[in-house]
């Protein structure tokens, strides 16, 4: 396969925005998206008339509005420049970023906006679990067997424990670390810390996954403004953060056709593509936002992204290598676990965090120490049904 990446234009993130995540019964879907879009435009120093194309990522189904992209776009005053609607389940955020990136990289637009928004709490938990569980392979998994998203990850957790000796304590440490960061992130769903004992003692959801191993059901939005190198120069952007490599892949939605249950092959392939395009190796990454939908997912992500070898993820977190200032500072935003996981918003929320980190703008003891200024965002759909990896550099 010929890699045409070099023939494309360089693209930078020049503005980011983020709503407060959580149960947001105080706002509509449109108002929620606007919180992120308004901040992103302000951060970029632009207005709607500068945006040539808008990409709206939203998973939907849990919202009463079944075609949310157009109302969201219209409310934000972007009526005539889109929206291009993007959906890739929980990976919608980075899929939207990729789409907006490609408009700019290809020369179809000079400045593009990507927003991801989700209001998951318009239905109850049982309905939400059913929507998630139905995804991917309905008849053979949900209808016959009643699997849920937590259960799918639990099948991996159980296999990872049996094969590598990963423990429930290792998983609990991921929750403790991510809640610690969330408690310092004013935009996070959860504003408190948890202890290993609290995680281990929390109520079971799908063994070995417990309540405090799970990301919550959240509402939220995040947005990014992307610009070509010409536009960056023309606008005199102080600190552009460059999209230096994007990787994507997918895996069979049939749980039973997977080669193993100890890692996500879609992540491995997406990461390899992103590293190659960015011309870096995993050891160059200093700060990463990874898809910890459940704590086991973060442990597998360390391995699948190449931060540590397969099977050593539990040890990696236990040794503090993924702490703030460790080998890689992972999920310093609080991650999906602590910050919340409003599906389509999550990938762009990762970009928001990495951009702020690379610009060294973080508050309250959450700034990662940087030498190379290399950050990474990792967004997964379902249980590795799809994966996106984006390398960002200052």
């Amino acid at each position: 396969m010929m890699d045409r990446a070099e023939t494309m234009r360089r693209v930078a993130v020049i503005g980011v925005g983020h709503s407060t995540f959580g149960v947001r019964g105080d706002v509509t879907l449109q108002e929620l998206a606007w919180e992120a879009i308004a901040e992103a435009l302000k951060d970029a120093g632009l207005t709607q008339k500068d945006i040539e194309v808008s990409v709206v990522g939203v998973v939907g189904t849990r919202e009463y509005e079944l075609m949310p992209a157009v109302p969201v776009n219209d409310y934000a005053g972007l009526t005539h420049v889109g929206p291009i609607r993007v959906e890739a389940a929980c990976a919608t955020g980075l899929a939207a970023l990729t789409t907006a990136h490609n408009y700019v990289a290809s020369g179809m637009a000079d400045i593009a906006l990507a927003v991801g928004v989700e209001k998951m709490t318009e239905v109850d938990t049982a309905t939400s679990l059913a929507v998630g569980g139905r995804a991917g392979n309905y008849l053979w998994e949900f209808h016959f067997v009643g699997t849920t998203m937590p259960a799918q990850y639990a099948l991996y957790a159980s296999a990872h424990m049996a094969r590598f000796g990963t423990t429930e304590e290792h998983m609990a440490l991921v929750a403790v670390k991510n809640h610690r960061h969330a408690a310092r992130n004013p935009k996070a769903h959860f504003q408190y810390e948890v202890t290993v004992e609290e995680v281990l003692g929390s109520r079971p959801v799908a063994w070995p996954i417990k309540l405090l191993d799970s990301s919550p059901i959240s509402d939220g939005a995040a947005a990014a403004v992307l610009a070509s190198e010409d536009a960056v120069r023309r606008l005199g952007v102080d600190v552009p953060v460059w999209v230096s490599g994007i990787g994507y892949s997918s895996e069979t939605p049939n749980m039973v056709r997977r080669p193993h249950y100890v890692g996500l092959e879609a992540t491995v392939r997406a990461a390899a593509m992103a590293y190659k395009r960015a011309g870096i190796s995993p050891t160059d990454v200093e700060v990463a936002e990874v898809h910890d939908a459940f704590t086991i997912a973060e442990i597998m992500a360390y391995e699948d992204l190449g931060f540590v070898e397969k099977g050593m993820g539990g040890k990696f977190v236990a040794e503090g290598q993924s702490d703030l200032g460790g080998k890689v500072s992972v999920n310093v935003s609080g991650g999906l676990k602590g910050k919340g996981h409003p599906l389509a918003a999550t990938g762009l929320s990762m970009v928001y965090e990495i951009v702020k980190q690379l610009r060294e703008e973080r508050e309250r003891g959450r700034q990662a120490p940087l030498k190379r200024y290399v950050g990474l965002a990792h967004n997964v759909a379902g249980i590795g049904h799809q994966a996106y990896v984006v390398v960002l550099r200052r």
Binding site: T125, W140, F142, V145, A151, L155, A162, V205, R257, Y261
Partner: protein, 181 residues
Amino acid sequence: MALTSLKEKIDEAVKQQLRLVDAVVGSTGFPIVPDQKTGDPQWIDVRELPLRYMLSLGGARKFFEGLAGGKLQATRCRACGTVYFPPQVDCPRCRVSDVEWVDVGEEGELVTWTVINVKPLTFSHHGDYVVGIVRMPIGVNVLAWISVGDPSGLRPGQRVRLVVGRREPEGYVTYWFEVPH
């Protein structure tokens, strides 16, 4: 509990909520209720959208004929030998649509499992259920419930036996695994 009584149980829960909404509409003129935790006003959607899909079985229709006869079957491509479970009648690998139906076998090895405690609404009438992935002799994996009293004794590689039968209370024919004594 057949399908009709399961539906009645769910409807009864919905009815109770609607009675509350009726009372609120009667007194305030709107189906608006405060959020229980924050007090933020929420409009209750009164145009319910019942979604009950029809699933065309397509090429899998033969699978259910097999299941009715107590057999769990996969398909095998006659051209390239690829075995498919769940079964499919088109082979994208060699682009030929000529498959034979083959038994997956009766005993397999447990690969991984979980216990589902927080359930979707349509499974909420069941107790916590154990779900596992089992490697079968013809080289395919099967996802199904594992019928076992205490799941803490389960081990990877453990032998489990396939059962085809009716699962109550829904009463339709399906498949699961048992742990032989």
